[in-house]
């Protein structure tokens, strides 16, 4: 069920009505859990088993960590279990194809069977929706418990609700136990503000996804499907458009998820903070997919040593973290390269910001511009279907003629308007945006545009494929 569909709204009306009735009773958490499992089962009922398995293993691992001396053993069990599942379902085919390509190259007449052959009959080998998100979320709990940063959750039902909470199940945010579990433990005091704030978040997210992301997707898909047929301007604009499309798509999803949760009195973390206003790559990753970047910071970068072992090691740790982050996004070498490009960008930013002149004299708008250009350039590898396509796009941007890109001007104006809004939001003129007539007018405009002019509204979210 996609958030922007009426069937989800019907689902939520029912879930919310019962939630309101039982929120002060012991049925609140079981009801949330049941709703979340139902929500997940609507995609693929058979993969609910994986969700329950991950939940059960990690719950058990923490229980055993708490009650036995072999804490590290149970932590390793949790990590191995989680990464094995992720590895099998997400990277199995990629790994097999890559290995088979190597075997062919070296002349070995043996082919490794596809991972789907290992599954029981009737079970399709597909990437379970949300697996990258709920696995990371559950794993963060076991790691945090091992580090002494979070209490053990004594209720399995509550822990299961934490892992599977439906607003954030399919595409995050990747919540931390110390943020969400206390909220699930408390009896919520639901204020009217929670409902209105939830509605505000949801409307913005809905508009971003249905009116903006899906609109940009039409142009991006057309150009990226056949890059050799388009000139430099079209390829460049399509790349810029993709950068905004993925932002609107993913942040729109997150806004809706946060809005739904907020209406139930639950506060999920902010996941996007106007990333295209970043003045450096480090700043960018503090604004983009914050729940994932902080996850990698806390569970990969810092354990590798972070920036505590010298400059060279810092760059190495950052590169490793970014490459792994790239791989998290998808089972393809283009994603790995995307991560590597960001690692290079981060290293460059770090060097530049170590320079006083750059730090203090270069105007912020120049920094924003180069970061935006760099991030946009990196998106080519993220979006392209293959290295060959990525290379075609890059080379044609540089060498192909500047023909009419036929990019919808209205969309360009809207995207520019959004960027300007974000810029104003982070400036002293923020108070203008906060004026009551402006806020009300924006909500009215967004709702009417979505209701009247958006398409079927049923396009899947980009991050569902991760």
């Amino acid at each position: 069920m996609l958030f922007q569909t009426r069937i989800f709204m019907l689902f939520f009306v029912v879930v919310y009505a019962v939630y309101l009735a039982v929120r002060r009773t012991r049925f609140r958490i079981p009801w949330l859990l049941a709703a979340s499992y139902f929500f997940y089962a609507c995609w693929e009922p058979s993969y609910l088993v994986l969700l329950v398995w991950v939940t059960a293993i990690d719950y058990l691992a923490v229980l055993l960590m708490d009650r036995t001396r072999w804490r590290r053993l149970w932590l390793v069990l949790s990590i191995v279990n989680n990464l094995s599942l992720l590895g099998f379902f997400k990277y199995g085919e990629f790994a097999v194809e890559s290995l088979n390509a190597v075997l062919v190259h070296v002349g070995v007449p043996v082919a490794i069977p596809p991972p789907g052959a290992l599954l029981p009959e009737g079970l399709a080998y597909v990437l379970p929706v949300g697996i990258s998100f709920y696995v990371f979320q559950s794993m963060s709990y076991t790691i945090d418990f091992y580090r002494g940063k979070v209490e053990r959750e004594t209720s399995f039902i509550r822990y299961a609700a934490f892992v599977s909470l439906f607003p954030r199940l399919a595409a995050g945010p990747i919540e931390r136990a110390r943020n969400l579990l206390p909220q699930l433990r408390r009896t919520p005091t639901l204020h009217l503000d929670d409902v209105t704030d939830g509605a505000s978040l949801f409307v913005v997210g809905f508009f971003k996804k249905v009116a903006l992301a899906d609109g940009l997707a039409l142009y991006v898909n057309k150009v990226y499907a056949a890059p050799q047929q388009f000139g430099a301007a079209a390829l460049l604009l399509a790349t810029v458009a993709f950068g905004w499309q993925i932002y609107f798509d993913f942040s729109g999803y997150t806004d809706m998820a946060r809005g739904i949760a907020r209406a139930m009195g639950l506060r999920l973390m902010l996941n996007f903070n106007n990333p295209y206003l970043a003045t450096g790559l480090g700043d960018f990753w503090k604004r983009w997919h914050i729940s994932l970047s902080t996850w990698f910071r806390d569970y990969v970068y810092i354990p590798l040593g972070g920036n505590r072992r010298g400059e060279a090691r810092t760059y190495l740790n950052m590169a490793a973290t970014m490459v792994i982050s790239g791989l998290w996004h998808g089972a393809a070498w283009t994603f790995v390269l995307w991560g590597a490009v960001h690692a290079a960008g981060y290293a460059l930013t770090r060097r530049l910001e170590a320079n006083a002149f750059y730090r203090e004299r270069v105007p912020a708008f120049v920094k924003r511009l180069w970061v935006f250009v760099f991030v946009t350039f990196a998106w080519i590898f993220f979006r392209a279907d293959s290295f060959a396509d990525a290379w075609t796009i890059l080379s044609r941007i540089c060498t192909a003629g500047w023909t009419d890109p036929a990019f919808p001007l209205l969309l360009l104006a809207v995207v520019a308007g959004v960027w300007l809004y974000q810029r104003l939001f982070e400036s002293r003129l923020r108070r203008v945006l906060a004026l009551t007539p402006v806020r009300i007018a924006m909500v009215i405009a967004m709702v009417i545009i979505v209701v009247l002019f958006a398409g079927g509204g049923g396009q899947e979210f980009i991050y569902f494929q991760f």
Binding site: L2, T5, R6, I7, L10, G148, K149, V150, E151, R152, R176, R178, N179, P182, D193, V195, T196, D197, A199, S200, L201, V203, V204, G215, L218, Y219, K222, D255, R267, L268, M269, L270, N273, N274, A406, F407, P408, L409, L410, L411, Y421, Q422, F425, R430, L433, T436, V438, R439, I440, M442, V443, I444, M446, V447, V451, L452, F453, A454, G455, G458
Partner: protein, 377 residues
């Protein structure tokens, strides 16, 4: 070891933008939104002219524009008129507006009543039931000449009872959930959207804008084809003309000149037919709205049928007549026209419509029905 209970959630920022309304502000916003969405379609009817003349028919380009169809019904479905409802046979797929059945009836009938063309090109009984139910609400308390085209029962595919999914006309009008149409495989989410849109006037109006001014595509897709155009400028308030022929201009020659072969349809039994059940539902719906209904069956191009199929078709006609009689619905089973007056299996040519009109007006049952004040059914 120290375990901490964190209250980090209390410091979660609201968002990265300023769009945050209080409950009072939400009430204002919702009131304005509701007013706009309710008022827009109503105001639009007053600013967008619908130039309806005697030989008016729904413009071909607006065949999927049910909002306009509802307006046309409101204009033409009056006690002074007989609403002629049906598929492309009534609409006049191969002829101009002044050559349709309703136009000929107007020309030949000396009575005070007019016959209004409320046919829709490409519609079939399952969709017609939906059209009458949701967008033909103005068909109430009036007289309706309803065309029954047995072509829609000539095969399981026409009858929509094949299992294999295929794209048929007017899917938004057919039942989305019950009865289940085997070849209609839209996801549940989409079906729910379609089903709820039927009760939302602004949804129909928004669809009207899409069909009438944006080439029947979403605004995003339209902008892709017209990247430098101003979408607002595309809304000219100028609807397509009813005189515009279908996009793929029909070949208005007799079927015998087009090399069309005879065929033997796999006629579906009435009791198993989805289209027949839908046709009956339309009759009942209209009668429940205090409409007087007269059914015109055919004329199918029997010259195209093989001998064996013709026999089945004759039986089908008798069955239909018997069922209509059981329902107390007055009807006329049209005799087949001369072969050279058909363009294909069911569509007459211009002279064919004239002959059909003459025969219909000669029918005692129809004359009674069409007389002002009408007799009992």
């Amino acid at each position: 070891m120290r375990h901490t209970t964190d209250n980090a959630h209390r410091n979660v920022p609201f968002s990265s933008n300023a769009v945050r309304l209080s409950w009072r502000e939400w009430l204002v916003a919702l009131a304005v939104i509701a007013a706009v969405l309710v008022a827009l379609p109503v105001v639009w009817e007053h600013i967008e002219p619908l130039r309806v003349r005697e030989d008016y028919r729904l413009p071909y380009a607006l065949s999927n524009d049910y909002w306009v169809y509802a307006r046309v019904c409101e204009t033409l479905a009056r006690p002074a008129n007989v609403a002629v409802v049906g598929d492309s046979v009534i609409w006049g797929h191969y002829v101009a507006p002044h050559e349709t059945l309703s136009a000929h009836l107007n020309a030949l009938d000396a009575g005070p009543r007019s016959f209004a063309n409320l046919g829709v090109d490409g519609i079939h009984p399952a969709a017609m039931a939906g059209l009458v139910t949701y967008y033909g609400r103005a068909l109430a308390g009036c007289d309706v000449l309803l065309h029954g085209n047995l072509l829609w029962m000539s095969s399981p595919r026409h009858d929509l009872t094949v299992r294999k999914e295929f794209a048929f006309n007017h899917p938004r009008l057919v039942p989305q959930f019950m009865p289940r149409i085997p070849c209609y495989a839209e996801p549940i989410a989409r079906r729910l959207d379609v089903a709820t849109d039927r009760y939302l006037p602004f949804a129909a109006w928004a669809e009207h804008l899409r069909v009438a001014y944006f080439d029947s595509v979403d605004l995003g897709a339209w902008m892709l084809d017209h990247p430098y155009a101003n979408p607002a400028a595309s809304v000219t308030l100028d609807l397509p003309s009813p005189y515009d022929p279908p996009a793929a201009k029909p070949d208005a020659r007799p079927w015998t000149e087009k090399g069309v072969a005879r065929f033997g349809p796999a006629w579906v039994e009435l009791d198993e037919s989805l289209q027949w059940a839908s046709f009956r539902a339309t009759v009942e719906r209209l009668r429940n709205r205090a409409c007087r209904v007269f059914v015109l069956v055919g004329p199918f191009n029997e010259h195209m049928l093989t001998a064996e199929s013709l026999e089945t078709y004759e039986k089908r006609k008798r069955d239909v007549a018997a069922r209509l009689g059981d329902l107390g619905v007055p009807y006329h089973v049209a005799r087949p026209l001369p072969s050279d007056l058909y363009a294909d299996a069911s569509h007459p040519l211009a002279d064919g419509y004239r002959l059909l009109a003459e025969r219909l007006l000669a029918s005692e049952a129809f004359r009674r029905f069409a007389a002002p004040g009408g007799g009992p059914e």
